[in-house]
């Protein structure tokens, strides 16, 4: 899959704290013996780590388990509102002169190129300010066009980045839109195909079995893995990279690999994954020193960095709804104690 840049610039004035994406796939573990084995194994290993035993007991055959794969996207993409600004439009009584009028107008300024010239009601965008709009109308010297027919309309101030934003934009004014199909799949949850779901479960299970581990997967096989060491910087990612055999030829580093982690990586480890050129990161628990979750910096969205990877948080819930892998608020990306 082509590497996707998730940050498309900040949307000015857009604030929608509730804009989140969360996709859940529900499983009854009894339904597929294979999956049941995976999940049971996964949780029995968890017991040796930090989850309270009472929660482990609930995970018998009758438990309904929920797997969530939560893409951590640019707020500019998850946002469901759109910033607007006012513009001067001309009401035309005689619709037949629309073509003629547009022919006499300059193109819209660069920052308004996303707007269609003619609105749904047949009015025509003239200019941003009332003063310049009047000048333009006078300059047209057309009997069908009167200054009194100028009106103020609200238009979307940016080109919509997602279909949802496009739907909202259209209510204000006709707008151009070029959907990014990969982004749409991340937003509507359809990225999580059956094969991806199996893949995520398989390696998430493996990485939890390792304890505080890290696994890199390339072309469906394990490229390298690592656990914290006592090296002063022996974090899971650094150990995984260190354990990689020296590579030669066309296989450059970890290009295009997927990385699975128990704990959200710190800045050092997140940047090491940039140097490693990974495609996707899946992690289970938020960390106190993590820099990818949506309440902080979000290194994977930083525009000045020249390589970007997709980030997903993977959760497995039991029937009580408590999040077994996400309960530890003291999680830290760190070395072995």
């Amino acid at each position: 899959m082509h590497m996707m840049r998730m940050r498309h610039g900040k949307m000015g004035g857009v604030t929608d704290a509730s804009c989140r994406t969360l996709f859940s796939i529900f499983f009854t573990t009894c339904q597929t013996p294979q999956f049941q084995a995976i999940v049971n194994n996964c949780f029995s290993k968890k017991m040796t780590m930090d989850a309270p035993p009472s929660k482990i007991r609930k995970l018998d055959c009758s438990s309904v388990t929920k797997l969530e794969v939560h893409p951590i996207l640019d707020p500019a993409l998850t946002c469901e509102t759109i910033a607007s600004t006012s513009f001067q439009a001309l009401n035309l009584v005689n619709k037949q002169v629309i073509g003629q009028i547009i022919g006499g107008l300059n193109e819209l300024p660069e920052s308004f190129q996303h707007l269609k010239r003619v609105g749904k009601d047949g009015s025509v965008l003239i200019s941003e300010t009332e003063e310049s709009a009047k000048q333009i109308i006078i300059g047209l010297k057309n009997d069908d066009v009167r200054i009194e027919d100028l009106k103020t309309v609200l238009v979307p101030s940016k080109k919509p980045s997602t279909r949802r934003q496009f739907e909202v934009s259209k209510l204000l004014w006709s707008t151009a839109f070029h959907p990014n199909h990969d982004v749409e799949k991340l937003l509507d949850g359809s990225f999580l195909t059956d094969s991806l779901r199996e893949y995520v479960i398989r390696y998430t299970q493996r990485v939890i079995e390792m304890g505080d581990g890290c696994i890199a997967v390339q072309s469906n096989s394990v490229l390298s893995s690592g656990c914290p060491s006592t090296h002063p910087l022996g974090h899971p990612v650094m150990e995984m990279v260190r354990n990689l055999q020296k590579r030669t030829g066309s296989d450059y580093l970890g290009t295009g690999s997927d990385v699975f982690l128990v704990n959200e990586p710190c800045a050092m480890c997140s940047m090491a994954l940039v140097h490693f050129r990974i495609k996707r990161l899946f992690y289970v628990r938020n960390s106190k020193n993590g820099v990818l979750k949506d309440d902080g910096w979000q290194l994977h969205l930083e525009p000045s960095i020249n390589h970007h990877y997709e980030v997903f948080r993977v959760n497995i819930h039991d029937e009580s709804g408590s999040n077994l892998d996400n309960v530890d608020s003291n999680s830290l990306c760190t070395l072995a104690k």
């Binding site: 002063p232 260190r242 940047m271 140097h275 020193n289 820099v291 960095i305």
Partner: protein
Amino acid sequence: MSDELDDNDRRFLECAFNLAQEALDGDEVPVGCVFVVDGKEIGKGRNRVNETGDPTRHAEMVAVTEMWKKYGEECKDFLRRAVLYVSLEPCIMCSSAMYQLGIRKMVYGAENPRFGGVRSVGNAEKYRMEDNIQIVSNVWSDRSVAMLKSFYEKQNPFAPPEKRKTKKPKQ
């Protein structure tokens, strides 16, 4: 900035820049560094990414691993008292590492607008760390940049042969 430097600083910077030149001669990104405690060198390193095929083998990481092998657990205490001299602003990975190791002071060459992790792109606040390392930045920047330029010229196979020659760093 260079006015703040004393003779010791210049000596260790010279050493870091020589290591950067050694990296350049070995077709690596020209970055070198020295860790110093109480006026004594305790570790040094230079970029070894191509040699090892490990993209994290930046000068600072190479030096920390060398100190770890040499001093074991004790190196963690040394590092908390250390001054890092490095020929280029450390990248985000290495800067975050320095904040986590809790070193005392950092003296570095040119700023790195693409990857720089001290002031340029990343910083302690973004790492959820305390901004408690004393920083002396932009030291001998011209020399630092000249080395980087000659690295990128050398790497370009379409560059005319006379341009591919390693430039003498400015003094």
